[in-house]
């Protein structure tokens, strides 16, 4: 008694300090049913779980047996549960009244639960209804002696005569959490009981009559529960349980005891146990201890009152059962709910860092657990990547809603040669466990596809800048003598002029093929193919100029009715008052402030003007002056100077 009180007190003290989820502690056959409307047992929809349970008895350690295999499936508000029990049985033996010398004759009574199907449905937030169909097997084997005496033979031998029946039980249960800290459960056993065939009435049956349970649970804290159960037949017991949920590890202790009627349990019998769960594995130990065990079990008692419980019933005292279970297809514990998910369904493979600053996808998520959690978004495009891209984690307090952003990066060494449809995989992880995973089709444009945004020409212009630097330097070296005579402040101007004239001679203008999206050639491709359209040529000269340190920008002429036009403008680094060094027409120059706020002379160039630098400047400056200044294009925003940086 002292030990019991001490244990209960210890558990109570511990429970006041630790805040965690609820428990399932009814390690017995009629375990409701206890579908356990555990509030933190959030289960992902449409998930499967399979588990097995083993048991052994301290007085028979060699007899390790498989107790149950269970398959569970969860839907939104529905729960299916199918169990097969190879060894959830009790078997009795009693000596026959008629004994035969030399032969040990007994009668065996075996009661086994074969399988059970449960279907439960949540009604609203607080009620769980359940229907249960269970199949039991009862086998009675009587050993008898057969005797034979003839002229030549005389012998006696044992024969076993067996009678067996299958029994179906249909039962109902209802659980109602009417307030936050309490719940009641009502359940039946043997409500509708049908035998497959008649059996000799001299044999004891498993259930003598219908049993009704009424259980009241009081949640003293999240971790600590006290329960009282009344079963018909003057059977009242109390149980306490305490459990502790760590991150990956669940630990649970429970004690139950009380006054039982002899129909179900022996008087004063108790259960102690603990359960530890890590990852997909559970280990549990339950000891059933009877403080006042019977000295012998009675056949008469079995006949009159039935067995009661198949597990931890009145026929099992002072024993320990060890169980091990493994979820083979583990049920996923759910901590978050995804409210919405948006993503880019088209991506341009040339824009390798486009999704480093702007997310490729975003999810609005809610923390539905009772803990503070940290969610990590991860993304993978199957066709392009082998590894998941991990984005910055999002911390959510209980019930908090936040957006999680998925960032992405195309490796430079990946080239998508033709446009394809790929799969965008996005997942959200909590402590290395996937909480949500989704897959969407995504259009991946090839490396030359361009969305028409001038800003994005930088991906083409800067990609091959090292190669362009070589070419540019090689070209300039041919004009080393003339450049050495140039006044230093005019060096950039003449470098640009020489480069333009040198390379423009090799190129002809070719417009883009008709396509849904624009196409842009990389500078080397333009030089190799000796042709290109305005964006290809602008990219080429932008790249050549920038490679040798001439600051360059794109000019975007937006035209709503026909294809837009793009040219470049470069910085001569001449001061405004020095314009006479290069031209006598001040309309041919554009003044732009540098980072220090000082104005410098910029020159627009029409890159499709293939006759030479002067003509291209003339044409570029004229276009810019007419469309940008005279027509107020700059102010209206239909002419834009687009500065891009690598």
């Amino acid at each position: 008694m002292f030990f019991r009180i001490l244990l209960i007190l210890t558990i109570f003290i511990l429970s006041t300090k630790i805040y965690f989820g609820q428990s399932n502690f009814f390690y017995e056959e009629r375990e409701l049913y206890l579908l356990r409307i555990n509030k933190n047992e959030n289960v992902e929809n449409n998930s499967y779980s399979i588990s097995s349970l083993f048991q052994t008895f301290m007085n028979n350690l060699s007899g390790f047996s498989l107790r149950e295999i269970t398959l569970k499936r969860y839907f939104d508000n529905d729960y299916f549960h199918l169990s097969y029990f190879p060894a959830l049985s009790l078997e009795f033996v009693s000596p026959n009244a008629t004994s035969v010398v030399g032969l040990d004759l007994n009668t065996f009574y075996k009661y086994q639960k074969n399988f059970e199907g449960k279907y439960a449905r949540k009604i609203g937030d607080n009620i769980l209804s359940l229907i249960r169909l269970a199949n039991y097997y009862e086998k009675f084997t009587r050993e008898e002696a057969e005797f034979y005496f003839s002229d030549t033979l005389a012998y006696v031998y044992k024969v076993a005569k067996t009678d067996k029946i299958f029994n179906w039980n249909l039962d109902f249960a209802l659980s109602w959490s009417f307030i936050e800290w309490a719940a009641v459960e009502f359940s039946t056993e043997g409500l509708i009981s049908v035998d497959e065939k008649k059996v000799d009435k001299t044999y004891p049956r498993r259930i003598s009559k219908k049993i009704f349970d009424l259980t009241f649970h009081y949640y003293a804290s999240e971790a600590f529960r006290i329960s009282f159960q009344y079963k018909t037949g003057h059977n009242l017991f109390a149980a306490v349980s305490w459990n502790n949920y760590f991150k990956d590890f669940v630990f649970e202790i429970f004690v139950k005891g009380g006054v039982y009627s002899s129909k179900i349990k022996n008087l004063y019998s108790s259960q102690f146990g603990f359960k530890a769960k890590y990852d997909n594995f559970s280990l549990w130990l339950v000891s059933a201890y009877d403080f006042n065990p019977p000295t012998a079990y009675s056949l008469l008692d079995l006949k009159e009152k039935g067995i009661g419980e198949l597990s931890f019933g009145k026929f099992e005292n002072k024993k320990i059962v060890a169980g091990f279970s493994a979820d083979i297809f583990p049920r996923k514990e759910k901590y978050i709910e995804v409210i919405s998910f948006d993503y880019n369904d088209k991506i341009f493979s040339a824009y390798n860092d486009a999704f480093q600053t702007v997310p490729i996808a975003k999810a609005k998520i809610k923390n539905i657990s009772k803990d503070k959690i940290e969610i990590v978004p991860e993304i993978l495009i199957e066709e392009l990547d082998e590894n998941w891209f991990v984005s910055q984690s999002v911390t959510l307090l209980p019930q908090e809603e936040k957006e999680a952003y998925f960032y992405y990066f195309f490796n430079n060494n990946k080239t998508v040669k033709s446009t394809l449809i790929g799969s965008l995989n996005a997942r959200l992880k909590f402590e290395d466990k996937i909480q949500s995973e989704r897959k969407h089709p995504i259009l991946i444009y090839d490396k030359n596809s361009w969305d028409g945004k001038v800003n994005n020409l930088k991906y083409y212009a800067f990609r091959e800048i090292d190669k362009m630097e070589n070419l540019a330097k090689k070209a300039l070296s041919r004009f080393r003598d003339s450049l050495s005579k140039v006044e230093p402040k005019l060096l950039k101007f003449y470098q640009a002029k020489i480069l333009f004239d040198y390379f423009i001679n090799q190129i002809s203008y070719v417009s883009d093929p008709r396509a849904v999206v624009d196409r842009v050639q990389y500078p080397a491709e333009t030089l190799l193919s000796k042709g290109g359209d305005c964006d290809d040529l602008s990219v080429l000269f932008f790249s050549l100029f920038e490679s040798i340190g001439i600051e360059c920008s794109f000019i975007d002429y937006i035209n709503e009715e026909s294809p837009s036009h793009v040219t470049i403008i470069f910085n001569t680094e001449l001061d405004p008052e020095e314009y006479a060094l290069i031209t006598n027409n001040e309309k041919k120059i554009v003044l732009r402030k540098n980072e220090a706020g000082k104005e410098k002379i910029w020159i627009p160039i029409e890159t499709t003007e293939l006759k030479g630098f002067d003509t291209a400047w003339e044409a570029g400056a004229k276009d810019f002056y007419i469309k940008g200044i005279l027509s107020d294009g700059l102010k209206k925003g239909i002419v834009r100077i687009v500065d891009v940086k690598n």
Binding site: G63, S65, I69, S94, T152, Y155, L299
Partner: protein, 317 residues
């Protein structure tokens, strides 16, 4: 890969553990407390015994082999009523019988196959039963093999016999419900033992039929007076007597409380299948068994005083 390991482990565990049985729970049979408990011994099964002239003439029949190994000898005194139901007549005879044997434990009697049958018996002195002097005669045992009878000498036996037709020994007279004194006279030694012959026992057979089919046989006898705790055990030996060979075999021994009647299913008799015509013999007896000791060599001796009712009936099925 991890999933596959789980599945393999799961399947292995199923194979390993699925067939294990849970331990049996022993129940005390408190249901059939008031129902007769029978102890049945199939004597003829796997052993060779002899039964002479329809009654238990040797202690070998009365004693299982395990008991025989422990015994150093026996003294058997019985008052017997023989009822012979043949040809529509019932003939009753009363017989008094005394037998005693003392075993030489160094000399076992074995069958040709080497099965233990008993021990050679040796004389140890003289016997006085009340005032009658037992005669010393040869111990003849009969062996049955392939339905052939063989006789064999197996030492010496003390013997007295009295029937309306024959008396062996003088002054030999037994009475029911009476003490019986047995004196053992040896050089320089006289041992005297007393036992009590039980009351007279009368038996009756009743054959039950179900639609003319033999269903069961009821064997009844006169219950002892007094409460059930005062009543002893009753022993019934069922044997067969083959007229052609003039031989009898004990087949079944039943021990039960003195409850007056038992019912045996037809199947017991239907499994007795002998080609020759045969009679059935029922020996119903009450016994008082005393453990006595003569000296260091003969420490464990059963002194039995019995009242026997013997019914011989033509095969009725």
């Amino acid at each position: 890969m991890k999933k596959h390991i789980y599945i393999l482990a799961f399947l292995a565990s199923l194979i390993s553990f699925a067939c294990q049985e849970n331990p049996l729970i022993k129940l005390e049979d408190d249901v059939s407390g008031n129902v007769t408990k029978l102890e049945i011994e199939y004597l003829a099964a796997n052993q060779e015994n002899n039964l002479i002239d329809g009654f238990d003439s040797t202690y070998i029949v009365s004693t299982s082999k395990n008991q025989l190994r422990d015994l150093d000898g026996y003294i058997y005194v019985a008052k017997i009523v023989k009822e012979n139901k043949r040809f529509g007549n019932t003939i009753k005879n009363s017989i008094d019988l005394f037998e005693a044997e003392f075993f030489d434990k160094n000399r076992e009697i074995l069958t040709p196959e080497g099965n233990f049958l008993g021990y050679f018996s040796i004389p140890i002195g003289e016997f006085l039963i009340d005032n009658a002097k037992a005669i010393l005669t040869g111990k003849i045992i009969k062996l049955r093999r392939n339905n052939q009878m063989y006789e064999a000498k197996a030492g010496a036996r003390y013997f007295l016999y009295k029937s309306p037709f024959l008396q062996i020994g003088e002054n030999f007279q037994l009475a029911y419900n009476s003490p019986i004194y047995v004196k053992v006279l040896r050089p320089n030694h006289i041992n005297e033992f007393i036992n009590f012959i039980p009351e007279e026992i009368n038996g009756e057979l009743k054959i039950n039929y179900n639609l003319k089919e033999f269903e069961s046989l009821e064997i009844s006898w006169n219950k002892s007076l007094g409460g059930s705790n005062l009543r002893g055990k009753v022993e019934i030996v069922i044997g067969v007597f083959i007229e052609k060979t003039n031989s009898a075999f004990p087949i079944i021994r039943i021990r039960t409380d003195d409850i007056g009647t038992i019912k045996l299913p037809a199947k017991i008799f239907e499994n007795i299948r002998i080609n020759e015509n045969f009679d059935l013999i029922f020996l119903i007896s009450k016994k008082n068994v005393k453990k006595i000791s003569l000296n260091n060599n003969f420490q464990n001796i059963d002194f039995i005083a019995a009242s026997v009712y013997s019914i011989k009936v033509k095969k009725f099925y």
